[in-house]
Symmetry: C2
Subunit: 352 residues, 2 copies
C-alpha cells in the first residue's frame, strides 16, 4: 500500500497533543482525525488544540465512533487514560470497526496478568476483526520490561533481575504530584497509601507480568511497597513546595516471587529535584545469572517524549502484527521512524 | 504441539558444543542430532564430543542431509562458519527439507545489504518451504545493532548513533588472535590489513545495514578503518606474547554515511588484556537526537556464552516467525528461556 497510513489520535491532552505533532513530522503517515473526551472542546481546530500554532483544517471530534466512520483510520493511538477499565470502551469501539490500536494506557501494556478475562475478551474481538491492539509507553512498555527481556536474551540462565528507574517529577503538574504524595508529611503520606490517594508508579504488575511471561517464569505473587522519600532540604517546583521532613516523592518498589523467592525486583522512586540531595536520575538493569549482565543510562530516558515517540514508532509494528492483543515483548523491537513508514512495513504479501 | 521441539546442531566446535550443552538443560527441547564438518569425528558419541562427560547415545553425524532425513528436526542451529558463501549450502539443504534455521554465521545476521541476490534467493526458498532463517549472535545480532534499534524506539528523531564495544581477546585461540593482528609489528599489521590476513571484527556492514534498514535511513556508503592497538606494555596470553611496540589487537571502526554525513558509527577495538593499560571493557550506545539516549554496561556482555544463549533463546522466535529470511530486528526480542519452550510459543492457531 503506497497510500499514507491513516492515523487518528484519541485524547487531546499533553500526550495526545505531543503524539499528533510528532505524527505530522513523519513521512507516510496522515493525521486524519483527533478525538478529545471533553465535549466542550469539540470543533476546535486540531492544529491549535495541539499547540502547533497553525490550522490543520481538521476539527477536534468528541464522538469517537462518528470520527472513525468518517475518517477510516488504519490505526488509532489512545492517550486518554491509565486503567484498562477506563480504556476498554474506546478500544472496543475501535477494534469493532476494524481499527488497529496503540494505547499508552499503562494497564494495556500487559493486561493478561491483572485482568485475564477482559484481556481475553479484547484479544478475541481483535482476532475476529483482524486487527491488533498494542500497549506501549516508556514504563510500563519499555525500560522496566522490554529492555529487561531483550537483555535476558544473552543469558543461558537467569537467577534474579533487578531494574531501577530514578526520575525527576519536577516538570509534572498537580495531579501527578498528588498521586506521588509530594509535599505530604510522612503520616499523611502513609494514610494516602492506605486510602489509595497516594498511588506511586502505575504499572509494576504489568512490567513484572510481561517479563515473567516472556521468560517463562511462574511468578505466583507480586508485593509492592510505597514509602515516602522524606526530604532533608527544601525543594520547590512551579506547583509544590516541599519543606524538610515532608515527602519529596514516593519510593515505590515491587517484587515478583517465584517459588517464594524474589526473582524480579523493580524500583521506581519518583521525586521532585532528586539532585538537591545528590541523587542521580538513571535507568539501570542488572541480571544475575550466566552471564551476569548490567546496563545503565544516566540521566533516565525522559518519560514524556519517550512515550510519545514509542506510540508513533510502533505504528508499523501494529500494522505488521498478527491479529490480537499484544505486548511489546510480542512484536519486533521498536525503532525510530526516520524514513517513510511505508518503506519499513513488511513487504511480504501475506502481511501486506 | 506438546511434543518437544526437535533440534539439531550443525557444527561441533566450541560454539556448537556450547549450544548443544545448553539445549540439553532446557525444558521442551530435544537434541535429536549433531553434525560436524570433520568427517573423521563422525560416529563419536555427541555427549563426549561436546564435553558433557557422559554418553547421549547419539553419534556425531557428518552427512547433514542424511541426518535431517533421519532425525526430522523442527529447527537447526548452524555454528560452522562466518560468511554467507560458506553458510549457504547447509542453510539451503536445511530449508529445502522444511527445517527452520538459526545461524550464528556473522554474515547471516543481515545479508541483505552485502549480498542482496543471495539473501533474496534464501528468502524465496524459505518462503516456498514455509520455514524461517534467522541470523543471531552477540555481535552482529545484538549489541551493536538490535540494542541500538530498540533504544532508538524512544526517540522522536535520531541525528547520529555511536556504539562501542570494547572487549578482551585474552581467552581466544591462535586463529582469532591472528585475524586481529595480535603480536604483529605495526608495519606488519598494516600489511596484513592490505593483504586481508588482518580482518578485525567481522560484522560491521551487517550491523550498520540492520540499523539503517530498521530506522529507514539510507546509508549510501560504509567506511571501515583498522589500526593497530600498539601496546606500551608486555601482554601475555596462553597463545601469544605482545612486546611493547607490537599490536595488542585491532582498533576497528566503521561509519555509515547518509547524505555524506556520518550517521551510524560503530567502534569495536579488540585486544588482549586491555586492563594492563587501564582500558575498561564495555558496551556503550549513544544516540544523539530527541531525546539523547545513553546506555552502557561494564564489563562487556561476554561474547561466547552470549552468542550460545542467543542461539538457543531464539528457538521460539524462529518457530513463531513468518516464513523467510529474517534479522533480529524483524522478530520479537529474544528472552532467556527459563520455562518450557512450548509455553512461550504463541498459542494462536494460525501460527501453531
Amino acid at each position: 500500500m503506497r497510500e499514507p497510513v491513516r492515523v487518528v489520535v484519541v485524547g487531546s491532552g499533553r500526550m495526545g497533543s505531543g503524539i499528533a505533532r510528532l505524527l505530522l513530522e513523519k513521512r507516510g503517515l496522515a493525521l486524519v482525525g483527533m478525538c478529545g473526551r471533553r465535549a466542550e472542546r469539540a470543533g476546535t481546530d486540531v492544529g491549535f488544540a495541539v499547540g502547533l500554532g497553525r490550522s490543520l483544517e481538521l476539527p477536534l471530534a468528541s464522538d469517537l465512533e462518528e470520527l472513525v466512520e468518517r475518517a477510516h483510520p488504519d490505526v488509532a493511538i489512545q492517550a486518554t487514560c491509565s486503567s484498562l477499565s477506563d480504556a476498554r470502551a474506546e478500544i472496543e469501539a475501535l477494534v469493532g470497526r476494524g481499527v488497529n490500536v496503540i494505547s499508552i494506557a499503562e494497564e494495556v501494556a500487559f493486561p493478561r496478568r491483572q485482568h485475564p478475562e477482559l484481556a481475553a475478551r479484547i484479544d478475541r474481538l481483535a482476532v475476529e476483526h483482524g486487527v491488533s491492539v498494542l500497549g506501549t509507553g516508556i514504563n510500563p512498555g519499555f525500560v522496566l520490561d522490554l529492555l529487561v527481556i531483550a537483555l535476558s536474551g544473552v543469558c543461558a540462565r537467569v537467577d534474579a533481575i533487578t531494574a531501577t528507574r530514578v526520575n525527576d517529577l519536577s516538570p509534572y503538574g498537580p495531579s501527578v504530584l498528588a498521586a506521588q504524595g509530594v509535599g505530604l508529611a510522612p503520616e499523611a503520606f502513609r494514610e494516602g497509601v492506605q486510602s489509595g490517594t497516594v498511588v506511586g508508579h502505575f504499572g509494576f504488575p504489568e512490567s513484572i507480568g510481561m517479563v515473567a511471561s516472556a521468560l517463562g517464569i511462574e511468578v505466583e505473587r507480586i508485593e509492592e511497597e510505597r514509602e515516602p522519600i522524606v526530604s532533608k532540604v527544601r525543594r520547590e517546583t512551579e506547583f509544590v513546595t516541599v519543606e524538610p521532613g515532608q515527602a519529596a516523592g514516593c519510593r515505590h518498589s515491587a517484587v515478583g516471587l517465584a517459588g517464594g523467592r524474589p526473582v524480579i525486583t523493580l524500583h521506581h522512586p519518583q521525586q521532585v529535584h532528586p539532585h538537591l540531595e545528590g541523587v542521580e536520575t538513571l535507568d539501570a538493569i542488572e541480571i544475575e545469572g550466566s552471564p551476569c549482565v548490567r546496563l545503565a543510562g544516566r540521566p533516565e530516558i525522559p518519560g514524556g517524549i519517550g512515550t510519545i515517540a514509542l506510540a508513533v514508532n510502533c505504528i508499523p509494528r501494529v500494522l505488521d502484527a498478527p491479529p490480537g492483543l499484544l505486548s511489546m515483548a510480542e512484536v519486533p523491537p521498536p525503532a525510530a521512524l526516520m524514513g517513510d513508514v511505508r518503506d519499513v512495513l513488511r513487504a511480504r504479501p501475506e502481511t501486506a
